[in-house]
C-alpha cells in the first residue's frame, strides 16, 4: 500500500506540474486514476503521455521520434552514440553510471535550478510533503535525464524540458514493464538456456536500475506482475495443467507386492467363504446392519440424534453422489471442447501424439508400439472400408438375429434369477441346519455365474453383426449393462416379495409380543396384587421374541451379493488370467503349436468390462448402504485390495486389449452409465423409505409408522415453533407446484439458450473452416491461372454471405433473453462479457456487403464528423463498429 501511495503522490506532483505548465484541467481525474490498480495505471499513462504531449503541440514529434530520442538520451549518458542493445550488461551499467556522474558534474547548475523549482512546487503541494525523500530521488533521476536531454538541445526552455521528461518517463516505464513481462514469460520462449540466462540478466539489471528511478518498490511490483502474468497464463485457452497421467510409481510398487499376494489371495478367499457362512450368525447383529442401531432419540451428552442422522446420512449419500457425478460430467463436457474437427486429423494425431513420453519401461514401450501399429492399421482399414459396400440385406438379417439371441439371453437370465430367489425363499422356511452350503448361497452363485458367462456369450453373438469395432464395443457394453441391471432388478423384485411376506409375518409376531406382554402384566398383578410400578419382564435379551427385521435381511442379501461378487472376480482373475498365463508360458516349451501366439494365448485386459464391473459394484453399494452401513467399509476394503491385486494381474499375466479403447474420449459415456445406475439404485431405496413401514422392534425407526416420521418429530420437538410453520408452508402443495413449474421453465429456458449458443458455435466453426479454405486457396493460386480455383474463390465469399444473418438471428434472441437491457445500452457490454461470440461473428462477417442492410435504419446516417461519431450511435456495440467501416470504404 505504501508503495502505491508514494507512487500516487508522485503522479500528483506530475499532474500538478503539468497543470502549471499547460493549464490542462485534469489533475483530479489523474489523481483518481493513480489510485486505481497501479499496473493498469502505468499502462494508461504510457498511452496518455504521448497523446497529451501531442495535444500541446509544443514540439511536433512523432512517437517514434520520441522513442529514438529517449534511447539516444540513454546512450548519450554513457558517452557514446551506440543504439544497439549491448551485449554485456554489467559493462553497460558501469558505463552508464560513469556517464551519469559526468553529466551530473557538467550540468550540475541546471539541475540545481530545477530542483529548486521543484521544491517550490512541493511546498505548494502540501500533500506530498511527507514523502519527500522518495520524491526527491524520483525527481533527481528525472533531472538527470533532463540534464542529458538539455545537453542535446540546450536552447529548450523549462516547460519543454518537462514535457520531454514526461515522455521519457512513460517510455521508461513502458520499457521496464516490458522487461518485467519478459522476465516472467522468459521460460515460455523457445530459446537456448544460455540466451535465456543472458536475457534474464539484462532484463533484471534494467528493471533494477530504472525501477528505483521510477519510484516503485521492486520486489512488490515484480511479485504483483508475476501473479498477474500467471493468472494470464492460467487463463490461456489451452492451459498447462497436468491431466491424466500414468501412475508409474504405483505400477512399480505393485510388482513388489505380487509375490506376497499370490499367497495372500488364496487365504483371503477361504476367509471370505468362511465369513459368508457366518454372516447369518454374529454379523447379523453387528454394527454392519440396520438392526444393530436402536431407536433411542438422543444419545450421550451431545444429544446425538441417531435415528435422524441415520436417515439423513442415508439420503444425503444419494444427494452427494448425484452432485459429484453430475459435476464430473459437466467438467468432462467442458474439457471435451470442439468435437467438430475430431475427424479432421485422425492420422496426424496418431502420428504425432500417440507416443507417450512418460513411458519408461521396455515392456510398456513394446505394448505401445504394438498398439500404435494396430491403431494405424485399424485406421487404414477404416479408410479402405469407406470405399466398399456389401450385401446390406444379409447384414441386417444377421443383426436382427443377433439382437433376438441377446434378448433371449437377457430374458433367460432374468427368469433364472427370479426362480432361484423364489427357491431360496422356500429354503429359508426350512431349518437352517438341513441346508447345504450350496443351497444357502444359490442366489449369489447364480448371479455371479451369469455375470461371468453372459458377456463372452454376447461377444460371440456380436460377431454376427460386423459392426465397426468402436460401435460394437458400445453395443457390447450396453448389453452387459442391461444384463447386470436386469439381474439386479429381478433380484430386487424377488426381495420385495420376501419383504412383504416378512411384513405379514411381523404383524403376527407383534401381536404375539403384545399378547405375551399383556399376559405377563396380568399374571404379575394377579400374583402380587399391584397395579402400578410393575417391573418390566425379566427376560434375557437373547430370548426376547423378535420380529424378522426385514431391513437387516435386505442388508444381508446385499452383503452376500457383494462378497460373492468379490470372490468371483478374484477367482476369475486367479484362474482365468493367472493360471492361463502360467500354462501358456510354461507348457509352450513342450507343445505342438505355439501357445503364446496361437489359440489360448494370454488373457486380454478388458478395460471396459472392468469399468462396468466397478460401476455396477458402486450401484450395489448405493442400494445396500442404507440397510447395511457396513457395506461401505467392505467395499473400501475390496477396492483397495483389488487395485493392487488387479494391478499385479495386469502387469504379470495380461496382454493389452487388441483394440485400444480410448477411455478419455468416452469418459462421459461411463459417467452417464454411473448416473443411470445411481438413479436406478436410488429408486428402490427411496421407495422403501417412503412406503414400507419399518420393523417394529429393530432399527433406529422402530415404533414409527414411517421412517420419515423422525424428521417430523425433530421439527416438532427440537426446532423452534416458527420453523415448524415454515416447514409446513414449504411442504404445502400450493408452494411445491409453482416451484416445480419454475424449475421446468428454467430448464426450458437454459436449454433454449444452450441451443442458441450451440448454433452460433457451429456457425463460427463453419466460418473458421471457410476462412481456412479461403486462405488455402489464396495461398495456392496467387495468380489464379487455375480456372477451377478461380471459380471456387468466386463462390466462397458468396457462400460466406449466407450464414451471417442467421447467425445474428440466433445470437440476438439469446443475448436479448439473457441481458436485454444492457446490450443496447452499453456499447462495451457486447464486446466484453458474453458477447465474445457476437464480436467474432460480426467481425467475421465484416466483408459482407449486406451487413448494413441488417442494421436497423437509424434516425440519421452515420455521422461523418469524427467528433460526433460517438454521440449518435450509442446502440452500436464495438463489434458493430468494426463491422461498419467496410461498406463506407
Amino acid at each position: 500500500m505504501e508503495i502505491d501511495a508514494e507512487y500516487d503522490s508522485g503522479s500528483d506532483v506530475d499532474s500538478k506540474r503539468r497543470a502549471k505548465g499547460k493549464n490542462k484541467p485534469k489533475p483530479a481525474a489523474r489523481g483518481k486514476k493513480a489510485k486505481a490498480d497501479s499496473v493498469e495505471e502505468s499502462e494508461e499513462e504510457e498511452e496518455e503521455a504521448p497523446r497529451k504531449r501531442k495535444g500541446r503541440k509544443k514540439k511536433e514529434e512523432s512517437e517514434e521520434e520520441s522513442e529514438e530520442e529517449q534511447k539516444g538520451r540513454r546512450k548519450k549518458a554513457a558517452g557514446s552514440k551506440k543504439r544497439a542493445v549491448k551485449k554485456d550488461d554489467s559493462e553497460e551499467e558501469s558505463e552508464e553510471e560513469k556517464g551519469n556522474k559526468r553529466k551530473g558534474g557538467k550540468k550540475g547548475a541546471s539541475r540545481k535550478e530545477k530542483e529548486e523549482e521543484n521544491n517550490k512546487e512541493k511546498k505548494g503541494n502540501g500533500k506530498a510533503a511527507g514523502k519527500g525523500g522518495k520524491d526527491k530521488q524520483d525527481d533527481k533521476d528525472k533531472k538527470k535525464n533532463k540534464g542529458k536531454n538539455s545537453s542535446g538541445s540546450s536552447s529548450d526552455d523549462n516547460s519543454e524540458d518537462e514535457s520531454m521528461s514526461e515522455g521519457e518517463m512513460a517510455r521508461l516505464k513502458e520499457e521496464v514493464e516490458e522487461k518485467k513481462k519478459l522476465i516472467v514469460t522468459l521460460r515460455n520462449k523457445p530459446w537456448r538456456m544460455k540466451r535465456r540466462l543472458k536475457c534474464l540478466k539484462e532484463a533484471q539489471a534494467f528493471v533494477e536500475k530504472f525501477e528505483g528511478a521510477l519510484g516503485k518498490g521492486k520486489g512488490r511490483r515484480l511479485y504483483a506482475f508475476k501473479v498477474m502474468m500467471t493468472k494470464v497464463l492460467m487463463g490461456m485457452p489451452y492451459g498447462s495443467i497436468a491431466r491424466k497421467t500414468v501412475p508409474r510409481d504405483e505400477q512399480d510398487s505393485a510388482m513388489d507386492f505380487s509375490v506376497l499376494f499370490e499367497f495372500g489371495v488364496i487365504c483371503y478367499c477361504l476367509i471370505w467363504i468362511k465369513l459368508l457362512t457366518f454372516l447369518q450368525g454374529y454379523c447379523k447383529y453387528s454394527i454392519m446392519f440396520y438392526g444393530y442401531y436402536n431407536n433411542q432419540r438422543s444419545i450421550g451428552l451431545l444429544q446425538f440424534r441417531l435415528p435422524l442422522s441415520y436417515l439423513l446420512v442415508g439420503v444425503g449419500i444419494f444427494g452427494y453422489s448425484l452432485m459429484v457425478v453430475i459435476r464430473t460430467m459437466a467438467r468432462n463436457a467442458n474439457e471435451g471442447g470442439d468435437g467438430a474437427e475430431e475427424g479432421a486429423f485422425t492420422f496426424s494425431w496418431k502420428l504425432f501424439t500417440s507416443w507417450d513420453y512418460l513411458i519408461g519401461n521396455p515392456e510398456t514401450a513394446d505394448n505401445k508400439f504394438a498398439s500404435t501399429t494396430t491403431s494405424f492399421k485399424e485406421s487404414i482399414v477404416d479408410e479402405q472400408e469407406n470405399l466398399k459396400d456389401e450385401n446390406i440385406h444379409l447384414r441386417r438379417f444377421l443383426r436382427v438375429i443377433a439382437n433376438i439371441l441377446i434378448l433371449c439371453c437377457l430374458g433367460g437370465s432374468g427368469y433364472l434369477i427370479y426362480y432361484v430367489v423364489k427357491r431360496s425363499q422356500e429354503f429359508a422356511k426350512k431349518d437352517r441346519n438341513e441346508l447345504t452350503w450350496l443351497q444357502k448361497n444359490e442366489v449369489e452363485i447364480v448371479m455371479s455365474l451369469l455375470g461371468l458367462v453372459c458377456p463372452p456369450l454376447f461377444e460371440v453373438i456380436s460377431e454376427l453383426e460386423e459392426y465397426h469395432p468402436r460401435i460394437a464395443l458400445k453395443w457390447q457394453l450396453a448389453r452387459i449393462f442391461a444384463l447386470f441391471l436386469g439381474n439386479l432388478y429381478t433380484f430386487l423384485f424377488a426381495l420385495f416379495d420376501e419383504v412383504n411376506a416378512k411384513l405379514d409375518n411381523e404383524k403376527e409376531i407383534k401381536n404375539e409380543t403384545i399378547w405375551a406382554l399383556k399376559e405377563y402384566y396380568d399374571n404379575y398383578t394377579l400374583h402380587h396384587n399391584v397395579t402400578e410400578n410393575i417391573p418390566p419382564p425379566n427376560i434375557s435379551p437373547a430370548d426376547v421374541i423378535r420380529g424378522p427385521c426385514w431391513e437387516t435381511e435386505v442388508g444381508i442379501e446385499f452383503v452376500k451379493l457383494t462378497v460373492s461378487d468379490i470372490q468371483v472376480t478374484y477367482l476369475t482373475i486367479l484362474i482365468g488370467d493367472f493360471l492361463r498365463a502360467v500354462i501358456v508360458r510354461f507348457l509352450n516349451y513342450c507343445w505342438c503349436w505355439d501357445l503364446e501366439a496361437g489359440f489360448p494365448s494370454y488373457g486380454e485386459f478388458d478395460i471396459s468390462g472392468n469399468v462396468l464391473g466397478l460401476i455396477f459394484n458402486q450401484g450395489m453399494i448405493w442400494m445396500g448402504a442404507f440397510y447395511a452401513p457396513g457395506l461401505v467399509g467392505i467395499n473400501v476394503l475390496r477396492l483397495l485390495s483389488s487395485m493392487y491385486y488387479q494391478c499385479w494381474a495386469v502387469m504379470s499375466c495380461n496382454v493389452p486389449h487388441e483394440r485400444v479403447f480410448k477411455a478419455s474420449r468416452s469418459n462421459n459415456f461411463y459417467m452417464g452409465l454411473l448416473l443411470l445406475v445411481l438413479f436406478l439404485s436410488l429408486m428402490p431405496v427411496i421407495y422403501s423409505i417412503m412406503t414400507l413401514p419399518p420393523s417394529f422392534d429393530c432399527g433406529p425407526f422402530s415404533g414409527k409408522d414411517q421412517m420419515y416420521d423422525v424428521i417430523m418429530e425433530t421439527i416438532e420437538k427440537d426446532l423452534p415453533p416458527f420453523m415448524a410453520d415454515i416447514f409446513s408452508y414449504a411442504s404445502n402443495p400450493g408452494l411445491i407446484m409453482p416451484a416445480v413449474l419454475l424449475m421446468v421453465l428454467a430448464i426450458y429456458y437454459l436449454n433454449a439458450v444452450s441451443k442458441a449458443y450451440q448454433n452460433s458455435n457451429m456457425d463460427l466453426k463453419r466460418k473458421m473452416q471457410m476462412q481456412r479454405d479461403e486462405e488455402k486457396n489464396r495461398r495456392n493460386n496467387k495468380d489464379s491461372t487455375n480456372q477451377v480455383m478461380k471459380d471456387l474463390e468466386d463462390l466462397l465469399p458468396n457462400k460466406s454471405l449466407i450464414p451471417p444473418p442467421s447467425a445474428e438471428e440466433t445470437e440476438k434472441p439469446a443475448d436479448q433473453l439473457s441481458k436485454s437491457p444492457k446490450v443496447t445500452g452499453k456499447p462495451g457490454a457486447a464486446a466484453t462479457g458474453k458477447g465474445v461470440n457476437v464480436k467474432k461473428d460480426v467481425s467475421l462477417a465484416a466483408a459482407n456487403p449486406r451487413a448494413p442492410v441488417t442494421r436497423p435504419p437509424g434516425p440519421r446516417p452515420p455521422g461523418p464528423l469524427p467528433g460526433n461519431a460517438r454521440g449518435p450511435l450509442p446502440g452500436q456495440g464495438m463489434g458493430r463498429g468494426r463491422g461498419g467501416p467496410p461498406p463506407r470504404r
Binding site: R196, M236, G239, S240, A242, T245
Partner: protein
C-alpha cells in the same frame, strides 16, 4: 536451513528458476540426476559454470528416455551442438519443456523441431517415412504401401498449402486440437 547446497550460488538458482518451470528443489534434483549420469565428469561446484558436456550415449540411457523412439531427436534438438551432447543448461531446458507446467505453445514448438528430422523448418515426407517418425513409432511393422498411405493422409489432413510439407504453423494448428498432446508430450522426472 537452506544453506546446505553449495553447488550453485543463490543467484544462479534464482536465474534457473526464472528460466525454467522448476522449483529450487527440482533444479537441484535434476542436477543430481545429471551428475549421476557421469559422476567423474560433472563437478559438484557449478558456481563458475564449468564447460561440461555429457555425450549423447549417457543422456540417451536415462530410464526416462531410453525407451523413447525419438530419444536421439530429443537430445539433438535440445543440445546446443545439435548432436545430442548436453550441458547442464541443455539438460534443464529439456526437462523444463517436457515438464507438465510448460505451456502448449512451447511444447508444440519443440515437438515440431523433434519431428523435423532434417532441420529444414518443415516436416516433409522424408521426415515422416524412410525410417523416420512413422517407422520409429511402429518399429517398421507397416508395409511400404501402408506407410505411403499414412504419409499422404497426414499431409492431406494438415497442410493448407499446395506444398507437400508441413510448416510450423500447420503443425501447431493441428497439434493444438489434439486431445492427448499435453498428456503425452510430458516427462516426469
Amino acid at each position: 536451513m537452506g544453506n546446505k547446497q553449495t553447488i550453485f550460488t543463490s543467484q544462479q538458482l534464482d536465474a534457473y528458476q526464472d528460466c525454467t518451470y522448476f522449483t529450487r528443489k527440482e533444479i537441484l534434483r535434476l542436477f543430481h540426476r545429471y551428475r549421476d549420469l557421469a559422476p567423474q565428469l560433472v563437478p559438484l561446484d557449478y558456481k563458475n559454470q564449468p564447460e561440461v558436456r555429457l555425450p549423447y550415449e549417457l543422456i540417451g540411457s536415462m530410464p526416462e528416455l531410453k525407451d523413447n523412439p525419438f530419444r536421439q531427436r530429443i537430445a539433438e534438438v535440445f543440445s546446443e551442438d545439435g548432436e545430442g551432447n548436453m550441458t547442464l543448461d541443455d539438460f534443464l531446458d529439456m526437462f523444463s519443456v517436457l515438464s507438465e507446467m510448460a505451456p502448449r505453445d512451447l511444447k508444440a514448438y519443440y515437438a515440431f523441431k523433434i519431428y523435423d528430422f532434417n532441420n529444414d523448418d518443415f516436416i516433409c515426407k522424408s521426415d515422416l517415412n524412410l525410417g523416420k517418425t512413422l517407422n520409429k513409432l511402429t518399429r517398421n511393422e507397416l508395409t511400404e504401401d501402408e506407410v505411403r498411405m499414412v504419409c499422404e493422409k497426414v499431409i492431406e489432413e494438415v497442410i493448407w498449402t499446395m506444398m507437400d510439407r508441413l510448416s510450423l504453423e500447420d503443425f501447431q494448428h493441428m497439434i493444438m486440437r489434439a486431445p492427448d498432446f499435453l498428456s503425452t508430450f510430458h516427462i516426469r522426472i
